[in-house]
């Protein structure tokens, strides 16, 4: 995105339309951070056409019918989490440029390598105990993970 007066104006419009309280942009590695704090103090000198959202006003997400949430929970109830056994760096493939060991939706067999966690130059392969399917990849390649952090959500066969 090229930063000029037009894009800044466009961003300001989005901010006011979405009632955002902050927007950070980091062009170095294309990082965008958007915040909407409920009831946050508005910066002085800026007046809004609409009144600020009251702290008690629920966001649209929470007004969805309860039934929908219940269904979602039921669908993921049998998902299993694969957690990191150590602090380290998460790698999805054996070396840069190689395809990921597993991706979302992929089926894997018992003993298959799912990823590598590196700590102190120890390359630790995490292998599957049972056959299953990857439902969600929870961390990005090269990201530092904590002990016990969820790496994958899976469904066992």
């Amino acid at each position: 995105m090229e930063l000029n007066i037009e894009t800044i104006q466009a961003l300001a419009k989005i901010m006011s339309a979405e009632k955002l309280t902050s927007l950070a942009l980091d062009q170095g590695n294309l990082k965008i951070e958007i915040k909407r704090e409920i009831g946050a103090a508005q910066p002085a000198g800026i007046t809004y056409q609409e009144p600020p959202i009251a702290a008690t006003a629920p966001l649209p997400h929470y007004t969805q019918p309860v039934a929908a949430e219940a269904i979602e929970i039921a669908e993921t109830a049998h998902w299993k989490e694969i957690k990191s056994p150590m602090v380290g760096v998460f790698y999805q493939s054996s070396q840069p440029g190689n395809p990921a060991y597993v991706t979302k939706g992929q089926h894997f067999s018992e003993g298959d390598t799912l990823c590598i966690i590196e700590a102190m130059k120890l390359m630790n392969e995490i292998t599957a105990e049972t056959p299953g399917t990857i439902m969600e990849v929870c961390v990005g390649n090269g990201q530092v993970v904590e002990f016990g952090q969820v790496l994958y959500r899976i469904v066992e066969d």
Partner: protein
């Protein structure tokens, strides 16, 4: 053990001494013609054996072939039962060790090769492993520690290798965090440690510690891109030392430390060998190099640094460079 293997081990154990066919025959309890046949067989296999009338046989001092028979006499008494598997040529000793570990190889199994055709380092980088000049060795371990406590394996292995080099050559080497070993400004040893973990209980199934050591100048010139980075422990083979002898000592020292990891006393030794402490370094993370100062080594082997903002932090992964400063 065959007569040929027994004979080779006896010759390796007594490299300085001539042994007559008669003495060999009686100690090995075979006929003199069996000894003569075994000598012939060893020569055909490429061993350089001196035979002098009235004195007997001995290995030439330049004879330096990797073999289980050559390593075995130098293993400490607790390691005499280890399985040593020596290949002439293998893709990578780590790959081979991993295969054997998956098939159930016991802790302490050693895989050695005279030459690796696909020697490798971390992240698929290659490790140049020409024949007759290096020690390429992988150890299979089944440590009884949780994965998160086992991060000390890599620092432990590097101290073990430094100790072994000092013990048999008298040479002092330095460690670049985490586990590269240098002599002067040249890297002479690379270590690649790979583990397979059962995520259910966080325990290691097994760990492979792969050690590649450049012992002497290879016959072929080094690849151009390695010329300014890689060195060798010696220019040529020293008279009284073999690669087998050093390999045995590496096995002894590395196993001794790795069997008792939680005794962190080796970390003090690690610090004295460290070539980065107190130095300006560069740290690679988030795809860029940052300037920092290396301060100390943590109890987990992590590198404590002062970063560019003056804050102290401990690194447990990632890449550092001393060279990139220039």
């Amino acid at each position: 053990m065959s007569t040929k293997q027994k004979l080779l081990q006896t010759l390796e154990e007594n490299r300085e001494t001539y042994l007559s066919g008669e003495v060999l025959a009686s100690t090995m309890n075979v006929s003199r013609s069996a000894i003569w046949k075994a000598i012939k067989g060893l020569k055909e296999a490429g061993y350089e054996i001196e035979s002098t009338t009235n004195k007997g046989y001995r290995l030439k001092s330049e004879s330096d072939r990797m073999s289980a028979e050559g390593i075995h006499p130098w293993l400490s008494s607790t390691n005499r039962e280890l399985e040593l598997i020596v290949y002439q040529t293998v893709g990578s000793t780590n790959q081979e060790a991993k295969k054997l570990a998956l098939e159930g190889a016991k802790t302490g199994t050693v895989i050695i090769a005279e030459e690796q055709t696909q020697g490798r380092g971390r992240m698929g980088r290659s490790f140049y492993s020409p024949p007759k000049s290096g020690i390429y060795l992988s150890l299979v371990l089944r440590p009884d520690v949780a994965a998160r406590d086992a991060v000390l394996l890599t620092t432990g292995a590097s101290v073990g290798v430094c100790r072994a080099i000092k013990k048999v050559t008298g040479i002092d080497t330095q460690i670049k965090w985490v586990n590269d070993i240098y002599m002067g400004d040249r890297k002479i040893v690379g270590i690649l440690t790979e583990a397979v973990t059962n995520f259910e209980n966080g325990q290691f199934e097994f760990v492979i510690i792969g050690i590649g050591l450049n012992f002497k100048q290879p016959e072929a010139a080094l690849p151009k891109e390695l010329e300014d980075i890689v060195g060798t422990l010696f220019n040529a083979k020293p008279d009284a030392l073999t690669r087998n002898r050093l390999a045995a000592e590496i096995i002894n020292e590395v196993l001794m430390i790795c069997d008792d990891l939680t005794n962190r006393s080796f970390l003090e030794e690690y610090k004295t060998h460290s070539m980065v402490l107190g130095k300006q370094i560069k740290v690679f993370r988030n795809n860029e190099w940052e300037v920092a100062t290396a301060l100390d080594i943590s109890d987990e082997g992590g590198l404590m640094i002062r970063n560019q903002f003056g804050q102290t932090e401990t690194l447990n992964s990632g890449e550092i460079s001393i060279r990139k400063l220039e």
